[in-house]
């Protein structure tokens, strides 16, 4: 999958969540996503950035414009070196939360994207990748 543009944003304080949203919006506009699709991936990016901050103890997001089979899309990869998630299946369920949110973060973000994958090991960290295609 060729990548035509890459940006990185560190997620360390709560203001960074806003910066992640703005970056995601800019890339979505550049790719030409519909307004609803833009809103969906920006919202998903907000959920995941907050997860990275609150549960992962901070981390980084890599935002890319990707191309596959003539379609363009936005792909975001959130990485942290936090405690990780032991039971991913449970974490994806609505209402599950180990923190102060509504427990919609992971499952909700998954529903808002075309692609979603999560890789996490307890003690090592978490990596979540999402994509939304035009």
């Amino acid at each position: 999958m060729p990548t035509t543009k890459t940006d990185r944003v560190a997620i360390k304080i709560s203001d960074d969540v806003v910066r992640v949203r703005q970056l995601t919006r800019a890339l979505s506009v550049e790719v030409g996503l519909s307004l609803v699709d833009q809103t969906k991936i920006v919202t998903a990016s907000s959920e995941l950035a907050r997860n990275t901050l609150d549960y992962g103890g901070g981390g980084e997001v890599t935002a890319e414009i990707v191309e596959q089979g003539g379609r363009r899309g936005v792909r975001l990869t959130f990485e942290d070196k936090g405690p990780g998630i032991a039971d991913i299946e449970q974490a994806l369920k609505d209402g599950f939360t180990s923190g102060k949110g509504m427990g919609l973060g992971l499952g909700g973000a998954k529903r808002l994207c075309n692609e979603f994958s999560i890789d996490s090991r307890p003690g090592e960290g978490t990596k979540v990748t999402i994509a939304r295609w035009k």
């Binding site: 703005q22 969906k40 919609l104 499952g107 529903r111 808002l112």
Partner: protein
């Protein structure tokens, strides 16, 4: 620190959210509204989110909290002006904000609050008879 201004409008409070809300701003708004409801003995809270491009679960939870707190303080909360794309996304996210009243715009929201006030005043009058 930045704060979102809260306007007093008769016996209601009006908040227009016009910035991309970061989490501390949302938490501050929740606190400010609670104290203003008590200070002004307000019966309604209008939150205009027509300028908001997204509402994520954090802001959703803030709206839910404001509605719950104001209900306890005997005030109605009406969220007005949510954009279609935001509404679709919130539903997909799994947030239906069932505890929050909604209206298309500020005018309709204000009418909603006044209707309820008129209704409850009529009830009070009945009680006195």
């Amino acid at each position: 620190m930045d704060r979102i201004p809260i306007l007093k409008f008769g016996n209601a409070l009006l908040v227009t959210i016009q910035v991309d809300m970061h989490d501390r701003l949302a938490t501050a708004l929740e606190e400010d509204l609670t104290s203003k409801i008590v200070a002004h003995n307000s019966r309604g809270v209008l939150i205009d989110i027509s300028a908001l491009e997204i509402v994520d679960s954090f802001i959703g939870r803030m709206l839910d909290n404001i509605a719950a707190v104001s209900r306890i303080l005997d005030a109605d909360t009406v969220v007005v002006g949510m954009r279609p794309a935001v509404a679709i996304t919130l539903v997909e996210l799994g947030l239906s904000l069932t505890g929050v009243k909604t209206a298309l715009n500020v005018e309709r929201g204000m009418a909603l609050i006044h209707d309820r006030l008129a209704g409850s005043e009529a009830d009070d009058a009945d009680d006195q008879d």
